[in-house]
């Protein structure tokens, strides 16, 4: 049975890149308005999961299905998924030479949002005329990614390590922007959802996430309350989680 407020459902997903299986039998449900967190060491399959949900080429689904708003999207193209309301902030986005950030943002914004004030909030106003991600520092790249997501305003935001390579000042800016993106200031009326990869857990200071998973070697080995799980990781590391019960 599919519940009414269910947004994303992943069923028994197994994925390979090339010859290597990167995700094994993953299942999860994200309801409308919820934000979930993905923890796990490098190479555990966290980014692969986000890319597979987004539909990026090269991530071959061997088994399982992905449903978005009750619709099977397993075989849809990236842009079809994007237009249905899935968005992604990459950890290492490519530079698009010759394309100004402003042009891209104006193109992806379908609701005529106030791009200038959005970019001011993210301290990106001076970057609007720069080429997308070209020569951006770590923090600038993350701010650019979140600015693009805010312009796109997806129902489900997939956010890959928003804190990596970012200094403290930028962490605050990004934290506030992600909070806004996921409508965490709203309560019952919240419609935006998120799936966020974090190493440092910083995002929990801004987004009181609803649920968390630990991924290890392509499998979900543990899930539950994000704050409890994060505390446990800090104390005992990821490997200790192997022994914890789901």
């Amino acid at each position: 049975m599919i519940k009414k407020n269910e947004l994303l459902r992943i069923e028994n997903l197994t994925v390979e890149i090339g010859e290597k299986i990167v995700l094994k039998n993953i299942s999860m449900v994200i309801n409308e308005g919820e934000t979930h967190i993905l923890f796990g060491p490098n190479g555990s399959g966290k980014s692969s999961l986000l890319y597979t949900i987004m539909g990026i080429e090269g991530y071959r689904i061997l088994n399982g299905k992905i449903f978005f708003r009750s619709e099977d999207i397993t075989n849809l193209s990236i842009d079809e998924r994007a237009r249905k309301g899935i968005g992604i902030a990459y950890q290492h986005p490519p530079a698009i030479k010759g394309v100004r950030l402003e042009k891209l943002i104006n193109f992806i914004d379908k609701e005529s949002k106030d791009i200038v004030s959005l970019s001011k909030e993210l301290k990106m106003k001076d970057y609007l005329l720069r080429e997308v991600n070209l020569g951006f520092s770590g923090g600038e790249m993350k701010r650019s990614e979140i600015l693009q997501l805010l312009s796109q305003n997806p129902v489900l935001s997939l956010i890959d390590e928003p804190e990596s390579g970012v200094d403290i000042e930028n962490i605050e800016i990004l934290g506030q922007a992600i909070k806004k993106l996921l409508e965490r200031h709203l309560n019952r009326t919240r419609t935006r959802s998120g799936l966020i990869i974090t190493h440092t857990g910083f995002i929990l200071d801004y987004v009181k996430a609803d649920h968390a998973y630990i991924l290890l070697e392509g499998k979900i080995i543990c899930e539950g309350n994000p704050f409890e799980i994060f505390e446990n990781i800090q104390k005992n590391g990821f490997t200790a989680c192997k022994n914890c019960t789901k």
């Binding site: 193209s77 842009d79 237009r83 992604i88 193109f107 796109q152």
Partner: protein, 369 residues
Amino acid sequence: MQKLHEVVLNKEDKHKLESVGFDVEGARSASFLMNDDKVVLSDVEDMEKGLVLIPLKKGLEKYSWLEERLWRLVPLDKDEFTRRAKDAEGYLIYVPPGLKIKRPLQACFFIKSHALEQKVHNVIVMGKGSSLDIINGCATANYDTQGMHIGITEIYIEENAYLTYTMIHEWAPGVEVRARTAVHVKREGQFVSNYISLQMTSLTQSAPQIYLEGEGAKARLTSLVFAPDNAVYDLGGSIYLKEQNTAGEIISRVVSNGGRITSRGDIIARAEGVRGHMECNGIILKEHGEITAVPVLSSSTLNADLTHEAAVGKISRVEVNYLKSRGLTEEEAVQFIIEGFLDTKLLKLPQSLEENVEKTMELLKHSAL
């Protein structure tokens, strides 16, 4: 000879001229228009005192020094095309020493008649310390026109003079183009060439020869080219670094959407302390398209700094996927990337032409992609 405001153009022709950067409203220092083999406009604004723009044949009658500059940089017997252009009409542009012209000079070579062989011979003389920005447009009137354009251009840049030469081509599927250009630059003089062509052509061949003959002279050639199905481009350029501290740069960005592009470049160092840099980047979008990059660096001195980078390949899937994940379709993503790849910011445009060329480029890209 008519003034700019007296030239009557039908709507279609006007649109065509504008698409190669010709400003019919006239925010220009001077304007020149050649329809087929006839000069119909050669007009210098009243306020631009000293600037000379006249049909070449009139120039020969008026200036005795012109005769010896004709066929001096491009030899008359270079090949069959130069020989065919023996008595061609064209323009003489002369900027007297010290005169700096702020507004651009515009010229347009327009083929209107079917299967016409348009032969053009242009001479530009930049006096010591002078400066000028030229925008040259070449176009055919109707899209299905056959024809041929032979263009001889001889450019003399005296000491400390500065010339930017921006060329926009918009030919038709059956038009063959043979350009023969040579430039002579003296001490501390500078020559900047910008070339844009995004349309069909049965063959466009162009390889300006730049001779940096005085200490500290500089040249930069940039091309942005898009070759649709069946278009053939053979483009190049040679910069001879003949005196100390001369510097040359050849930059090209080419896209094949089924067409064939050969992108050549030669930088030849023959003096101490010279610098040369070449960049050729190509993207192949479709099967049967072909891009050949032929960069040549040659040095016969101990102290020359010549560098080169080239990359020819398919469009980056990572970039396409990135844009698609923002909701752009495959076609929109490719268009974004190609438009960015052929960014006019790569050109070294004078400020007075930036907006105009950018707008022109938007229109051209829109119809080409």
